[in-house]
């Protein structure tokens, strides 16, 4: 259908949007959303290479599945940490989370 470069540029754009979100957001849930966006961009890259280059098109799909599983685990752990932090600090602004600062 389209060339490999189209998909690569789309996924680079998605990844840099996610990077921008991680760098500038101060809401922890917003940062988590941006991390999910970056993981999806990497997954899109895997699938594009799988479609256009690899000898065996099963391998890329399996790697995409593994990344999805790890992202689900990361989301569960991250959200429970955010909940615990909110109960302690009554805020999910990351600049408030500085109890260890001397």
């Amino acid at each position: 259908m389209n060339s490999l470069n189209t998909y690569l540029i789309i996924s680079a754009f998605l990844f840099s949007l996610g990077l921008l979100g991680v760098l500038q957001r101060r809401n922890l849930i917003g940062m988590l959303i941006s991390v999910e966006l970056m993981l999806n961009a990497a997954n899109l890259n895997f699938m594009a290479f799988n479609r256009f280059l690899t000898p065996d098109p099963v391998v890329g799909q399996i790697i995409a599945l593994f990344v999805m599983g790890l992202a689900a685990a990361e989301a569960a752990i991250g959200l429970s940490i955010i909940l615990a932090l909110f109960r302690k600090m009554h805020s999910i602004n990351i600049e408030r989370a500085q109890k260890l600062k001397g």
């Binding site: 754009f13 949007l17 760098l23 280059l53 099963v58 959200l79 999910i92």
Partner: protein, 176 residues
């Protein structure tokens, strides 16, 4: 292999670019607005668009998994976390302009670098390419060559579930 081979090429191209538009606008909604609920809805839109792109890449199975795991599970979990932590009523501090400018510059540098690397590389496809995209083959490979990774992923998910329950539950007991 190509799900959209029956559609005429022009229509397929139009559908492809509409999907890309959904994905990019969803990603923009997921990053830029201050209201966190809009961010989650934009994330759901972007993930659905990426599932559509997986369809264009020829994998119906991964597209379904994307819809099921990301749009169905992860987005709903994030909505639950938002409702449990009430960030909408909290203060939204002003954005510091230098930080936003630095973040924009960093991500722009990353985008230009990776896009130019992608454009300048001469991608060479493998000489002999199998055309076996069936779900049966994926299942077979998951239980033969990648079985160890498969089991380790299950273990990671189990540990993550227990860890999430312990983290959220213990902090409730401590604070109340």
């Amino acid at each position: 292999m190509d799900t959209f081979s029956s559609v005429t090429p022009v229509l397929a191209q139009a559908a492809f670019w509409i999907t890309v538009g959904f994905t990019v606008s969803g990603a923009a909604i997921a990053v830029f607005p201050r209201n966190i609920l809009y961010n989650v809805l934009g994330l759901a839109l972007a993930l659905s668009g990426i599932a559509g792109l997986y369809l264009f890449l020829g994998s119906f199975f991964i597209a379904l998994m994307q819809l099921l795991i990301y749009v169905g599970a992860v987005c709903i979990a994030i909505v639950f976390a938002i409702m449990l932590s009430r960030p909408l009523h909290l203060e939204t501090p002003k954005r510091a302009i230098p930080k936003v400018a630095l973040g924009l510059a960093a991500s722009a540098v990353f985008f230009v670098a990776s896009a130019s690397v992608a454009l300048r590389t001469e991608w060479v496809p493998a000489v002999e390419r199998s055309t076996d995209w069936s779900v049966e083959t994926i299942g077979h490979m998951l239980l033969t060559r990648y079985e160890l990774v498969f089991e380790v992923i299950s273990l990671v998910l189990l540990v993550a579930i227990i860890g999430a329950i312990v983290t959220a539950g213990f902090s409730r007991r401590l604070s109340s």
